[in-house]
């Protein structure tokens, strides 16, 4: 450590002559830090936008979280508003509809995790097995496409497709002799339709990260397996999947962290009072509450609740993963 002064070129401002014996004092450490910043300033400049972004958009707003415990007035500001303690939380948890929304949120997330999470992995594995390059590219483009269509249009497509009079789904059902079903007003159909839509829209795009991970697998693993006599199926199971397992686990943990974030616009576009029973999630509940007159404090309370749940889930998932698979986010 004492030799660090030799690292820079002789003409450069050399570091202050810090003789470190034992633990460096605070000022010594600051000197060292300043020296390093001076020495590698280009790197710190590159780092700066990310840090500034985090501070401004993620850390500073945390100050505003306190409105969850205040009777917030935009005009009076955060500090000017009165404290109300846990009133907003009492309002939320005193409401059956909020609890139903929490239940629905978790159910929709859990089901879409169950079906939606494996979909891009399966897709990526399938793409990986396609040998013909042009066919592969075409297929990939086709499945990526829905990702780039706006939710409003997707919802329009879904509504049309499931329409009882002209929709393809009901047309098909009528061929096999089943009466048309008004799917979008049936609570029991909302989740399958919503989750299916989500998979259709995002699976292709999400498969990119897994494809990238697959591309990173050492090709000699496959060659070695070929020599050992493995079939393609065996290679997929015994090499590809285990090799991308760390990616899968990381993605899973991230996904679990978003479990309270159900695609809000899509629900707003697809749900009906008739399907609130299964479709109303925390975000839509808050949205309807908020219409009554900018209840930011209540929304903040619900947001805080969401964040706490998500944080707990991520911590748990990470710990479990760390223990059993040695893969973790941190």
């Amino acid at each position: 450590m004492a030799d660090i002064g030799n690292v820079g070129s002789p003409t450069e401002n050399t570091m202050p002559n810090v003789q470190v014996s034992g633990k460096p004092t605070f000022s010594e450490r600051m000197q060292l830090l300043m020296y390093r910043v001076r020495q590698d300033w280009q790197i710190y400049v590159l780092l700066a936008p990310a840090i500034i972004w985090f501070l401004i958009f993620l850390y500073k707003p945390m100050y505003g979280l306190q409105i969850a415990f205040k009777d917030y007035s935009v005009f009076l500001g955060i500090t000017g508003s009165d404290w109300v303690g846990l009133e907003h939380f009492q309002t939320l948890f005193g409401s059956d509809q909020f609890l139903r929304a929490v239940r629905n949120t978790i159910q929709i997330s859990a089901w879409s995790l169950l079906f939606g999470f494996p979909a891009p992995i399966i897709l990526a594995l399938m793409f990986n097995e396609i040998l013909k390059e042009t066919f592969k590219k075409t297929a990939q483009t086709i499945v990526y496409l829905p990702h780039f269509i706006s939710s409003v249009i997707i919802a329009g497509i879904i509504i049309t497709a499931f329409s009882p009079s002209a929709g393809v789904v009901n047309t098909f059902l009528s061929w096999i002799g089943i009466d048309p079903v008004y799917f979008l007003t049936k609570p029991e159909w909302f989740r399958p339709i919503f989750i299916g839509t989500g998979i259709w829209q995002e699976a292709g795009f999400q498969s990119i990260v897994f494809l990238a991970s697959i591309a990173g697998v050492n090709p000699s693993l496959y060659e070695s397996a070929v020599v050992d006599g493995a079939s393609r199926w065996q290679m997929m199971w015994k090499i590809t999947l285990p090799s991308i397992l760390p990616t899968i686990i990381i993605m899973l943990i991230i996904r679990i962290g978003n479990i309270m974030e159900v695609s809000f616009e899509m629900i707003i576009l697809l749900y009906q009072p008739a399907t609130y029973e299964t479709a109303d999630v925390v975000n839509t509940f808050i949205y309807r509450q908020g219409i009554q007159g900018g209840q930011y404090d209540l929304a903040a309370a619900a947001g805080l609740f969401n964040a706490v749940v998500a944080f707990t889930l991520v911590m748990t998932a990470n710990t479990i993963s760390k223990r059993f698979s040695r893969t973790s986010l941190w």
Binding site: S73, V74, F75, L76, G77, T91, S95, Q97, I159, S163, P164, S165, Y182, L184, T185, Q272, P273, A274, Y276, E277, D280, R288, Q289, I291, Q292, G293, G294, Q295, L298
Partner: protein, 518 residues
């Protein structure tokens, strides 16, 4: 003394204005001797910023000597509430704040000092507004915040009619049916549409009753003496002999829902009414499938022109509301006389007197004409003492859009619409329909809303949204047949009360009494 003089002046100018050239009249509209500059935040989803170069504004500036300077915050969003929040959070309010949906903001933050109370200023310095309020006391009441003050001046629509019952007259003729007068006849006609193939394609694909907003299906409960809303907002409370009620907790509604569920099941209602959305009218009419609806006069009547070629014989015209089971003919929807849009005076405004005079200007004759018709000689000319849009202007495209471009008909301003402006470009079928509705007395009084005090607001916030959620869930379930209104009703009412309906009605009532009581 001062007030008297001003009133006299105003009267004098308005007399003059009808005869003398506008320029002469304008000289007498001066509010200050020296030009005064006031700042303004003006935000509406169609024009997210104030433009000093709007011809209407230039004229107003010239006439009054009060000129506005743009200080709009949040012009990059089309969401007025968002822009308003940015403005409020900035802590610095301009002299005038004009916005879509300003009512709640003004009433909530006015008492906190964000906006100045206006009623005293109006009394002293604003003869036109004073006159307007005297003519429309209910409007004045509706403006009051919970503390009794008035914090904003509204966009006040003119004219009465909004939506009406429309039906395919050509289909009626084809099937040899009369225009239905009662709910029974209406039902029979819809059934005939369904079963007798009026479009003549051999398939029973007709959609007897459809609507762009599924809430217009619920509107039909009026045919069984129920109510669906008390105002031009869906699902709103209504006033029955000074008593605040929720339409969805009344017996007439139950009867209506029972019958509508039957209609839906029978196919008299568009099976996809909940999801077909805003394009349904366009689609069902142009495909020659839709038979009847309840929709706006102007835009619906317009299809008689636009589909004349595509659907031969097409005649989709207004009919008077069918009589209900008790014989009442009610058109529940009408133009509300006061909108929650408008403008307010910033709490730190140093020139409250000049400002209120300026705001008053727009309710005076010249100001009203300027805000409704634009500039004389440009957009309109005076014909028999009345403004008349020029042919060129009417031919130059959508009238409202053209007017926004010059700064007229801005609803983020407190002004009084003149229905004459709209008549001049209305479809003849719409005017015909309006005449039809004028012939009877079908409209009902509107609930103009209340301003809560803090305690009332808390109660309302806590229960109202969830009540509505529950009501709508049941409502759709009953229509779709997954629940039976008769069987569920007692349970439904019990749940509503458990969810706080009576508490909400209580606070609404106390707020209403305070606001509209003597």
């Amino acid at each position: 003394m001062h007030k008297l003089k001003l009133t006299a002046l105003a009267v004098a100018t308005s007399v003059l204005a009808t005869t003398a050239p506008a320029v002469l009249a304008a000289d007498d509209l001066k509010i200050t001797d020296k030009p005064l500059e006031l700042t303004i935040h003006m935000h509406h989803k169609r024009y997210t910023s104030y433009d000093e170069n709007w011809p209407v504004e230039k004229a107003a500036c010239e006439w009054t000597n009060v000129c506005l300077k743009n200080a709009t915050i949040g012009s990059n969003t089309t969401n007025s509430e968002e822009a308003m929040n940015l403005l409020l959070a900035s802590g610095k309010l301009p002299d005038i704040v004009g916005s879509g949906r300003i009512k709640d903001v003004a009433n909530q933050y006015g008492p906190q000092g964000a906006f100045q109370p206006l009623e005293e200023l109006i009394e002293k310095h604003a003869p036109n507004l004073q006159a307007f309020f005297e003519q429309n006391p209910a409007i004045k009441s509706s403006l009051k915040a919970a503390d009794g003050h008035i914090y904003y001046l509204p966009y006040a629509p003119d004219g009465k009619y909004g939506r009406a019952f429309f039906i395919r007259y050509d289909w009626l003729d084809k099937l040899g049916l009369e225009v239905p007068d009662t709910v029974e006849e209406y039902e029979n006609v819809l059934r005939a549409f369904k079963t007798q193939d009026p479009n003549g394609n051999g398939i029973a694909d007709e959609v007897p009753y459809f609507a762009r907003q599924w809430e217009e299906l619920i509107r039909l409960v009026t045919l069984w003496d129920g109510r669906s809303s008390g105002s031009d907002t869906y699902h709103d409370y209504y006033v029955d002999n000074g008593q605040i009620k929720h339409p969805y907790a009344e017996v007439g509604y139950r009867e209506g829902m029972k019958n509508l569920a039957r209609w839906y099941k029978e196919g008299l209602i568009d099976a996809e009414i909940f999801t077909r959305g805003s394009s349904s009218r366009e689609y069902l009419l142009s495909e020659n499938l839709g038979g009847a609806t309840h929709d706006w006069f102007a835009s619906t009547a317009g299809y008689n022109d636009s589909l004349a070629e595509k659907v031969p014989g097409f005649a989709f015209k207004a009919m008077v509301p069918p009589a209900s089971v008790s014989g009442v003919q009610m058109e529940e929807h009408r133009r509300i006389p006061v909108k929650p849009d408008g403008w307010a005076m910033g709490g730190t405004n140093k020139h409250p007197v000049e400002t209120i005079k300026y705001m008053d200007f727009w309710f005076g004759e010249e100001g009203r004409r300027l805000s409704n018709f634009g500039i004389e000689g440009e957009q309109y000319t005076m014909v028999d003492g009345k403004p008349q849009f020029t042919e060129e202007f009417l031919a130059s495209g959508n009238v409202n859009s053209q007017l926004y471009l010059i700064g007229a008909q801005l609803q983020a301003r407190g002004y009084w619409m003149d229905y004459n402006y709209e008549i001049q470009w209305s479809n003849k079928y719409a005017l015909e329909g309006i005449d039809l509705y004028e012939s009877g007395d079908y409209l009902v009084d509107q609930f103009l809303g209340v301003a809560f005090n803090e305690k009332e607001q808390k109660v309302y916030d806590r229960y109202a949204a969830q009540l509505r959620t529950y009501m709508l869930e049941r409502q759709q379930a009953w229509i779709l047949g997954t629940g039976d209104v008769e069987a569920d009703w007692d349970d439904y009412m019990k749940t509503l009360n458990k969810m706080g309906l009576s508490k909400v009605l209580d606070v609404m009532q106390s707020a209403y009494d305070r606001q509209y009581g003597s």
